[in-house]
Amino acid sequence: MHRAAAGAPGPARPPSPPPPPPSAMGAAVFFGCAGIAFGPALALVLLTVAAEPLRVIILVAGAFFWLVSLLLASLIWFISVHLSDQEDSKLQYSLLVFGAAVSVLLQEVFRFAYFKLLKKADEGLAMISEDGQSPISLKQMAYVSGLSFGIISGVFSVINILADSIGPGIVGIHGDSPYYFITSAFLTMAVVFLHTFWGVIFFDACEKRRYWCLGLVVASHLITSGLTFLNPWYEASLVPIYIITVCMGVWAFFTAGGSFRNILKCLSCKQEEDNRVMMYSALQVPFED
């Protein structure tokens, strides 16, 4: 392993590419990485979820479901580790990979379970309201549930790392990558987005019984998780993950009913004609309760 770039004296060596300098930590790194990792999530929550109580409840319940799935996966991993030889590092590594795969599958199972619960809740809400429509649509629930999975997944992955980044310390002093914090932050942001998109696509696929979509979502989740096993070879892990994120984003956009026309309409900021005015043109005495 490389020594820290502290200029240690020694015999003359053939020139080798200089090791990347270890990076310092501190409040700047903390705030920067926290902003990268959770900025979009925070903006999404503040703009779309915080104002509606029902969506906040769905957000928290989604986090709960994800936590239960993680609990079960950790239980399985824990049992497998304790039943095996703890000294064998290769075995432990493969058990970790196995644990990660189980965790991904369990997350998707619990996403499905959450879909079932929200569907029932949707029916309940629709039954209660007189006009037969619930105050929140299944698509909105899909989005909020995806966002909740993303936030809690990102938080659990990165919060301890962020807490450590306040310092003091130097990253990469033993030769590991000095870009640990910033790549973790970017990975977390990708994970948040991915879960949101997966949520939208997944719920729509379950609703329309398109099982190939479901399979694709699960497969892409497994692939994403698998790509992170290539860390710290960040070119091979980060770039493909972001490509997957963008693809999922486009797919989710079209699944949710978006189209080029919608984008143009949104960008042009034109007010939609309210043609409901016409329905009451046959004037009646206002109905009094």
């Binding site: 950790s74 991993w77 809740a121 938080v155 994403t224 109905f287």
Partner: protein
Amino acid sequence: MTELSAHLPQFQHGQLTENFPDNHLSSTNESSERRRRDNSERRRNDNPESETNGQPQNNIQQVVEQDEEEDEELTLKYGAKHVIMLFVPVTLCMVVVVATIKSVSFYTRKDGQLIYTPFTEETETVGQRALNSILNAAIMISVIIVMTILLVVLYKYRCYKVIHGWLIISSLLLLFFFSFIYLGEVFKTYNVAMDYITLALMIWNFGVVGMICIHWKGPLRLQQAYLIMISALMALVFIKYLPEWTAWLILAVISVYDLVAVLCPKGPLRMLVETAQERNETLFPALIYSSTMVWLVNMAEEDPEAQRKASKNSTYDKQANRAPNEDAEADDGGFSQEWQQQRDSRIGPIESTPESRAAVQALPSNSQTSEDPEERGVKLGLGDFIFYSVLVGKASATASGDWNTTLACFVAILIGLCLTLLLLAIFKKALPALPISITFGLVFYFATDNLVQPFMDQLAFHQFYI
């Protein structure tokens, strides 16, 4: 999410109660039923004419349906809104506690134990430690039970002054002494130099305004803020002085006790509730966090006479004066003892000891609630705040998983609160607010700390993401 009730759910200290007088609930039902009946009649009447008139009838129908759907929507939003009205203060209290635990080392330092938990946990064997913690928890719980029974007895024999005096002394202790210690420790942590004169001024103002807000009248937000602060202070005291195993055991046992005391027919809390109901009065002012006081303002605005009564009855010691006042008010018609009681129930003194949570039984009073359903609020006992914060604070203080464990407990408690509210909507009677949340919290704490944390640690070490 299914609908939460439209009437005023009340969460008392350790219990949820429905604060709907029967007449109020029935009147709501009647009005909505009447509306529906009228609508259906109208539709039936209109139908034979629909062929001739066509459009106009449809319009009426649409308007009718729109009205009804607005009503139903209001009901629903009302339900979800109340969950959020409780989420926010519970979250704030927990945030304050966790922030303090993480920054001020005083509250994680071992400086002895309370007299309620005399057995030490620094023992040689695990068995001895377990035994000591069980004994500590048993002593603490029996103290609580004794205090509850004492309170029931005092209430039954109408010793209101004793109870009021006790509650006022406790709130004085909390608002002045504990906050003084807290402020001192915060200054020490951040190395802020402070002279005694400024400190005395700050503490004096804080304490006096707190006493006024909590025991008498004050802006709603200020009162809520004070209640959250004293809950946080109390929770911090528990976190500091309860040794580890004892704390977890006490949390578990107190949620069982809460369940038993509120739901069993002979439970002290239930007896308290029933006694107060028989006497048709609200209990002595109790520790309740309320999300709205708007009805009070409404009442004051609607009736100038009521306002005069409010100024007359500003002191606490009015149990004795209540009877003559009520006679005088009988002529006013309407704003009588019920209004008085509602106003009194607003005033909640603080209790510094855990026994007091048994004291919080503010009743489902039979008083009129506000006319506007939007104004009706939700209430949660301060003891629930305290124990939720103790759980999350202990998780952040002692867990090896650190932030993961804290967050998991936080989510678990919020979900427990949500489920409890749901149960309240279904069963519509006094329910304990602790058991579900504390159970989830404890399960998540131990599971996250022992199972999830090593897993996430390994994943983070290799920078794997799941």
